[in-house]
Symmetry: C2
Subunit: 286 residues, 2 copies
């Protein structure tokens, strides 16, 4: 028997579509109903075999689902849940894929009717592309997925969400929401802030020293790929994880200032040590 | 007739080895003599067919060469040239691959005996690997190579060096040395400083929030790959291009501070605009 009888995916893009693909491939889902605002994208998702059928109205779409996956932009997760919550089937589990958890988990838990269950989640996976066309079954293979139970989380609902991500190929890690938001600020949100600022700085310099970006080699391109990420999504993340991001930006600035002072002071030994410590840590995650 | 009769490559690693491979492949060099300090690496270079023979003594090695390519670490280019200069054949052209040009070009030009010619160069190519095993014939294919003539540069020597890089597959750009050093500070040296500082900051945070680096997804890995670069090489670059690097670090810090203030002020429109400007510029160099 499949893990999920009727899965409802709200937002059939890279994240939602990739989960749908792997669960269908594994035979772990009876039926997948896709919900979204763009009907062309939903039709394409049916053509591609990612979902069985679609609804553009989330209220009707969630009817009879035993699991709902909220894969919408991070800022609309709570508002979408507010709309569907009264229409969830008894026993229904709702989980999400938002990359900020604190605010979302608190709001969503409070919205759930009695006898339905919310479990916050965040698969650490993605590419710079979006939309159902960009989705693929192995997106989650070998990647971590953070699931964030609270004191209010139902143990059976937690178990089912964990099992779903394991079946998708992820290594599931349980973490409290505050730690999740600090960890993500460090390993994802800060690097994005740095990359966006770097490209703007080099591009800004470009204006009075015309055409320097084309000289950039592979290193710069790799380094700045994440600056191609969706501006609206990152606006929302910056707003929703503001405190942790500010903390990490200031933390980074202290290291950057230390390095500046080593360069300024022509401290060869200090520079080599600074670079070697970084290389050692970077090589450890290769 | 090949472009070069006897090419002497001092430093047979990724940069020197890759140039040797492509010029042999194209039949544009009569003989290649490799010079280096590590005899095992030089023997391997002969076995791999990268060079014809080797010498460990640079003075003897440059005898009879019509072109010498200095592919040693950036800080030793001038000192190696000081040693070989009195032994160069009449008409010999010396060029280098150093990623900082101002100091090197001025010092090297002054060292050249009458009737021999120096031309500064910098192929914008590389990987995070080093050594002759890492070299490959297509390293320079489609990449820019900056050649930095001065008022003292011999036109025929310049022409030969440009032709050599074109035969290696590069798009050659002529640039004055000061502009080269500012451009490289922007597109390469600054990103390395940022990446090294970022990994140290995240790693430093890691110490009191154990084991967060393994949660990092592909974005972080791509973004920080350049922090795996050789610490000694980057120490030398930071010391040799100090002024331009400090200028760019300060330029970056202004943009980073602007972004911090947008996050702090919860300025959604400003954040989206900041990210969109960056994305637009990044996408233009894809």
């Amino acid at each position: 028997m499949p893990l999920i009888q009727r899965l409802c995916i709200i937002g059939v893009g890279l994240i939602g579509g990739s989960l749908a693909r792997i669960l269908r491939e594994k035979g772990e889902v009876g039926e997948i109903v896709g919900i979204g605002r763009g009907e062309a994208n939903l039709r394409r998702a049916v053509e591609l075999g990612v979902i069985n059928r679609y609804e553009t109205d989330p209220v009707g779409g969630v009817a009879g689902a035993d699991l709902v996956f909220l894969a919408t932009p991070v800022c609309s997760i709570a508002s979408v849940l507010a709309r569907i919550a009264p229409h969830l089937a008894p026993g229904c589990i709702v989980t999400d894929g938002g990359s900020v958890k604190g605010e979302i988990v608190a709001t969503c838990e409070a919205l759930m009717p009695a006898g339905t269950f919310f479990v916050g989640g965040h698969p650490i996976a993605g590419t710079e592309h979006s939309g159902v066309e960009a989705s693929f079954a192995s997106l989650y293979q070998g990647r971590r997925c953070i699931v964030t139970p609270t004191a209010a989380t139902d143990p059976l609902a937690l178990h089912k969400v964990v099992r779903m991500w394991e079946l998708a190929g992820s290594e599931v890690v349980l973490m409290d929401v505050e730690k999740h938001d600090r960890v993500l600020a460090a390993i994802s949100h800060l690097p994005h802030m740095v990359a966006y600022a770097l490209v703007n700085a080099v591009g800004g310099y470009d204006r009075f020293e015309e055409g320097i970006l084309p000289y950039s080699a592979g290193g710069f391109r790799d380094f700045t790929r994440i600056a191609s990420s969706d501006p609206a999504m990152w606006r929302d993340i910056a707003l929703m994880n503001r405190e942790s991001i500010l903390e990490m930006m200031d933390f980074f600035s202290r290291y950057f200032a230390e390095l500046r002072s080593l360069v300024d002071g022509e401290d060869g030994a200090g520079l080599e040590d600074f670079f070697a410590r970084s290389k050692e840590q970077r090589d450890a995650i290769l």
